[in-house]
């Protein structure tokens, strides 16, 4: 046990947590924005997968990883708008739209990969390796421990991800658009009655979601790995949904729950080499999610019950008077 502790309490282990949590954080922030607008987008997984492929492809065609990231964002927006179009215009259930995009991400990515490269497995042989620049922040990396974990040799998108936590918080709570997004999510009829364009807001939230998912995908294929390979997203889109649910859609909460998932995954990766039950450790984040959203649901459940009880008491008093 002390053996495990000593190897967990290293800066390289902490850095690996960061590396694992970044794509989850991007996607969970994406899910938070749509969730706040009352749009249930479960197509994150598929969007990430296709964006990951497009990121490498665009980088390969143009020779610039920046173009790769932009291409991934553009595709993310396109896929999110597709979900919106079918859900709002054709009235397909939005959960089914999400499942459709996930299926597209699984099969369509392989098909596209084949059309582009002739391989059904990965992009490595044709497109080579692509990696976003790694950055060591000059002064900050000198801070003991924290500098080594956060500010040394991390992908540029890692910093963007943490910056996005702040940006999404500002967007949701300090801008008129954020108020509209939350109003639409809270009660779209009420928002509609005061002149907010409900569908415009929902589409806007989907566009923002697409941008963040695009970055998640680009991180996967150009930082986490240096290529796209079949099945590389491996449920991260669903984990992000869970992180969103557990963090209650609040940017900071989402960051903390993504951190928890990163920790559990990194721990499971480490435990694989020992005689501890690795698969059970891997299941931990999912169990924690169920517990987390249940505890949250119980607390809101009790709150509404208390408010209701108080109201009833008042009414009884009134009636007695």
């Amino acid at each position: 046990m002390s053996n495990i502790l000593s190897s967990i309490l290293t800066t390289s282990f902490a850095a690996s947590i960061i590396r694992i949590m970044v794509p989850i954080l991007f996607a969970a922030l994406a899910a938070s924005i749509t969730e706040k607008a009352g749009v249930v987008n479960i197509g994150l997984e598929g969007t990430m997968s296709l964006c990951a492929l497009i990121a490498v492809t665009c980088a390969w065609k143009s020779g610039s990883t920046l173009v790769g990231v932009l291409g991934a964002m553009a595709l993310g927006i396109l896929l999110s708008l597709m979900i919106g179009f079918f859900a709002f215009k054709f009235k397909t259930d939005i959960i089914l739209c999400g499942i459709a995009v996930n299926t597209l991400g699984e099969g369509g990515a392989v098909l596209l990969l084949y059309l582009l490269t002739g391989s059904k497995g990965d992009t490595q042989t044709v497109m080579g390796a692509w990696s976003l620049p790694r950055v060591t922040v000059p002064l900050l990396s000198k801070i003991p421990v924290i500098g080594e974990i956060f500010f040394t040799n991390q992908s540029i998108l890692t910093y963007v991800a943490f910056l996005c936590v702040l940006l999404v918080w500002i967007l949701l709570y300090k801008t008129p658009l954020g108020i509209r997004i939350r109003a639409v999510g809270e009660n779209d009829h009420a928002a509609d009655s005061v002149g907010v364009g409900v569908y415009k807001i929902k589409y806007t939230s989907l566009i923002l979601c697409g941008i963040l998912c695009g970055m998640a995908g680009a991180y996967m294929s150009m930082s986490y790995m240096t290529m796209f390979s079949k099945g590389m997203i491996a449920g991260r889109g669903f984990i992000a949904l869970a992180a969103q649910a557990m963090g209650r859609g609040e940017p900071v909460g989402v960051m903390l729950s993504s951190l928890l998932f990163g920790f559990a995954q990194a721990l499971a990766n480490y435990v694989k080499g020992t005689n501890l039950p690795a698969r059970l450790v891997e299941a931990l984040p999912y169990v924690v999610t169920i517990l987390g959203i249940t505890i949250y649901a119980i607390s809101t459940f009790n709150k509404t019950r208390k408010i209701r009880a108080r109201k009833e008491k008042k009414e009884q008093k009134k009636a007695a008077a």
Binding site: F90, L96, A100, L111, Y114, L115, F238, R279, A283, I293
Partner: protein, 367 residues
């Protein structure tokens, strides 16, 4: 109220959705193959090439029929539970353990295995059902998480406790011969499980459309608040439909395992749960249509596999067909302009008829 032409419209819309799916597939096949017509022939007619190929289609129908039925029942009550995917693995795994370690006379052995799988499926689905009913926790997130938990737990037990170490791949010891569900035709892959699947489809139809509980499930799906108001115990129904879904998926896992495999060797999620959703959409949540939809999907799936083997088109073509089905088949407003015209025409005709009748009557009165 629902006139004949409107019902006809439903079929037309379904056919149009399938046509779109077919066209998308066609375009992609032409893009990805040098000999598109050969590829197309494999996809559409490949499975008809021989009797044993048709039997394979029937064998592939079995798991997806079960997950399709499970999805039908849960979606009928508007419960977006997606754990059919996990339950089929969990049921299959537990059924497999009973088949390996509990020697019993044949027939009884199969029944006990299937019941064990059904039981574990139902128990698992109690979790999202109970959490939804008691505290309003989203069944969708819980069920998605359960899929991964189930996979991790079964893999832990499989690799640590029940693996046959003499084999190269991860798998259990072989099933006792008394537990195997026999094949219908010697040497072909389809087992008597197909009959169980079809029987379950009929049973589910009866449950959903001819019993009190089925009625309550459908009512909760149509209008939860109204159901509550009219005295239906909504909470109990929400749990019930998910548990029934789990039972069906669990059974499906066992029937597939004992009818198709010699030992348990699912080391990843199977994807049958998602196929089940496609089926439920195709069958419009009516269990009786599930076997037909299953045959259609199984046919296309196997056709795509054959196309993958013999031409350059990847098997993932099937996913794209599913995507289009997902998006268009369940789209309420797809071709809605056409429906609007239909309704207007019908109403005009009705009004004209009424007017004609009235003027006739009026004329008679005058005379």
């Amino acid at each position: 109220m629902k006139s004949k032409s409107l019902r006809l419209f439903g079929y037309v819309r379904g056919a149009a959705a399938l046509l779109v799916a077919f066209l998308v597939a066609l375009v992609l096949i032409f893009l990805s193959s040098d000999e598109p017509l050969v590829a197309l022939r494999y996809m559409l007619l490949g499975p008809a090439a021989s009797w044993s190929k048709i039997c394979r289609v029937l064998a592939y129908m079995i798991p997806i029929t079960f997950t399709g039925l499970a999805t039908c029942i849960m979606f009928s009550a508007n419960q977006f539970n997606l754990a059919g995917e996990g339950c089929i693995s969990a049921g299959g795994f537990v059924g497999a353990l009973v088949a390996i370690y509990c020697p019993m006379p044949t027939v009884i052995h199969q029944i006990v295995c299937i019941l064990a799988g059904a039981l574990i499926g139902g128990l698992i689905m109690l979790i999202p059902g109970f959490l939804k009913t008691r505290w309003g926790v989203s069944e969708m997130v819980v069920s998605l998480m359960l899929n991964y938990i189930i996979l991790d737990v079964t893999m832990q037990f499989l690799t640590q406790n029940f693996a046959d170490r003499s084999q190269g791949a991860t798998m259990t010891f072989p099933y006792k011969s008394s537990a195997i569900i026999p094949k219908i035709f010697a040497g072909e892959q389809v087992s008597y499980g197909i009959l169980i699947a079809i029987a379950m489809a009929v049973l589910c139809w009866f449950f959903l459309y001819r019993t009190k509980w089925g009625y309550a499930i459908r009512m909760v799906g149509i209008n939860k608040e109204f159901s509550q108001y009219s005295g239906i115990k909504v909470g109990a129904i929400v749990i019930l439909c998910q548990v029934v879904g789990g039972i069906l998926a669990g059974m499906g896992g066992v029937v597939t395992q004992l009818g198709y495999f010699q030992q348990y060797r699912w080391t990843a999620l199977t994807g049958y749960g998602w196929d089940g959703i496609t089926l439920a959409i195709l069958a419009a949540n009516n269990p009786i249509f599930i076997p037909i939809a299953a045959f259609f999907v199984a046919w296309l799936q196997y056709g795509c596999e054959l196309m993958n083997t013999w031409t350059t088109v990847p098997v993932e073509m099937m996913d794209l067909i599913s995507v289009v089905i997902f998006l268009f088949f369940a789209a309420d407003q797809f071709l809605s302009g056409f429906r609007q015209k239909l309704v207007v025409r019908e109403t005009k005709k009705e009004l004209a008829e009424k007017a004609a009748q009235q003027s006739k009557k009026g004329g008679e009165a005058h005379v």
